[in-house]
Symmetry: C2
Subunit: 454 residues, 2 copies
Amino acid sequence: MKVVKFGGSSLASGEQLEKVYGIVTSDPERKFVVVSAPGKRSSEDIKVTDLLIACAEKRINGEDLSNELKMLIDRYGSIATELNLPADVIKQIEADFLQVIDGDRSNKERYLDAVKASGEDNNAKLIAAYFQVMGTKATYVNPKDAGLFVSDEPGNAQVLPESYDQLYKLRDIEGIVIFPGFFGFTKDGHIATFSRSGSDITGSILANGIKVNVYENFTDVDAVFSVNPTIVSNPKEIKELTYREMRELSYAGFSVFHDEALIPAFRAGIPVNVRNTNNPSAPGTFIVNDRENSNGPVTGIASDKGFCSIYISKYLMNRELGFGRKLLQILEENEISYEHIPSGIDDITVILRENQMDEEKEANIVARIYGELQADKVEVEHGLSLLMIVGEGMRHNVGTTARASQALAEAGVNIEMINQGSSEVSMMFGIKAVHEKKAVQALYNAFFVGAVTV
Amino acid sequence: MKVVKFGGSSLASGEQLEKVYGIVTSDPERKFVVVSAPGKRSSEDIKVTDLLIACAEKRINGEDLSNELKMLIDRYGSIATELNLPADVIKQIEADFLQVIDGDRSNKERYLDAVKASGEDNNAKLIAAYFQVMGTKATYVNPKDAGLFVSDEPGNAQVLPESYDQLYKLRDIEGIVIFPGFFGFTKDGHIATFSRSGSDITGSILANGIKVNVYENFTDVDAVFSVNPTIVSNPKEIKELTYREMRELSYAGFSVFHDEALIPAFRAGIPVNVRNTNNPSAPGTFIVNDRENSNGPVTGIASDKGFCSIYISKYLMNRELGFGRKLLQILEENEISYEHIPSGIDDITVILRENQMDEEKEANIVARIYGELQADKVEVEHGLSLLMIVGEGMRHNVGTTARASQALAEAGVNIEMINQGSSEVSMMFGIKAVHEKKAVQALYNAFFVGAVTV
């Protein structure tokens, strides 16, 4: 059995839903379908979720929301019309939206969560109706009835462990189950939504609870690429990616997935298959626990801007027990989490995401490092990027560092920082952000293009 | 003006002292001579300092020390005889030793310091007598009279800042000043010795106080080598080394100097010239604040065994504010100082000197990391070496990492850890200790042999 999840762009129009229907019904294993709200049909389009947020906020502020409400109903209406659904389907959806938007607003966060969740919820109802019209036995299942219980944290709900056993019972439902993504219910019966990529999380939770063989995640790309296609054109597709590799790649801005969304599937050892709704015959990318073969040491290359470094030097720092700990304490008290802390004998550098630090915080931290730690020199450098090369095949591969640093040297990229030594499946380079593009291209050529031609 | 310091092997015999006399008198700038106690004449010989410690300990325990005492007096006696010094010189030295060894033993540490210091003190007296016999105006100066005041920490005394102004007055003494190394006096008038390389420290303090132009440090090698000559035969000599480079090299087992000994000279910006008593025409190595030219990016290569690593992984560690700080706190509470902490997304490795950790401490630390930090996995790996390549020329040298890692890859050495990013003048590699020798040789070939032939 499979859980199949479709993202917003796969559900943006009637035409897309026809593809979804074809995909689901072409494989009898595809029994559990998790759906997002309708996404954008074009780049100028507005997402249903954004329309819902606008409606909720206007309602709270007592403003006129008829325009947004009309756009919202029209989105569902046009899909229903395209698919020739009975008129009462869209009437029910309209009634539901009106009821939710007019709902209890005494707790603003809860109200917003309820409104947001209605986008997915009504889409699931619409899709179930469509499947039925097409002659396929399909049932909309509400997360509350299914027992998908979550913590009472609006916008950042966490699944409660007892949900998994409840969800296993979904197996008993005959035919196809259409399940709305993005939300669950608190023990008190309130709706609470997950964080970003919420429908991915729902799919992952269902995959774990139902104990399926595969969690298929349909998006709009044929596969996960080995490098950002806006930096390198037509990059190699990744056939198999381990969870570990994906997590390391995601860290450095590789937007495959909000990797934590996959934790429930990961914990149950269920492979995730990333596929393309618009090209369902492509095998896609499998995200797995272990991989047997690899083409060369490196699986993927990622990069991310927005880092800065704090360099601190103090003569005889090396002899001072507790220096590093006190430094991290100062950062912690400023609610700053660091990424890396390469250290020399008398110096230490902290690499962190620069969006955590405004001018005031920076001045405060620098002053405290001088004052409390008696540093000789403190320097903050902005505008750094981190590059990451990732691959299970890098374990015990003797020449990877040489190949990577050679490629960067030939491209004229100075390495400001190297982090290797903790993770066996990745190596990280800190460089100036202005060199990011040519650095990624050079690494790609060294590990992928080179690997083919040599 | 110059401070000239001679180590134990330069003062081990009359023959050596003749060389010292020739060196000092050949340059009228060599006015301030700091001397150690007589060192070993051969590898089987016993150092005077070790004889003194044996005498002191036997005296404390009420044991018979006539044998050690005889060996001690004979060492000075044979030097005096070789140099045809008047009989009363050695008589005075003998009387002084007997008095010191029979001195106040109510405070054992102070007593030991007084006995140890007498080796240098009597050697300075002997050498001053020798210079006078040779017709050169030379004066033994006692550190107490010179105002070399130190903190009351027997065996680890620190110079008190007011000493420097006092020492400046040594300029007023006519002729050559012979000054015993290794000790100073507390404000209460007690002798207190410096830590290891104590005569180097005295020379460095005098250089600063007197504000000389150069601090010449005579040993038994022609120069500082770019790499350990027991690993690479006939390695390149270093002409100029910056303080910074020396400190980084010393850290990884490069035994040029106990680098902290040079701090007083370093603070005053006085260059240190390492020279050979047995080959005084060799220019030696200058240790300086800044260096203009360099032959290639790397100045020296060093390596040291005896490191271990603690690898810790925990899923979502990256999101946990304070994880690194708490980890360092556990180490600090075990009085362990770390060397490096490379970190991945969900893992962190601590590199430390393994002599800090016994089995019990290791078990305690591992248990606390599991218990308090809820780590998923903790692994300790022993038997690591750190390699260090050091050079001011490495700043902004794009290809250094590539060249180094290429050399290690070709030698079949797997890099367990790279630390680059904090110090601009060094790069560190963690490798398995069994690979240390071939790794150092490979790096030497890449940066020194290669640099000549290419």
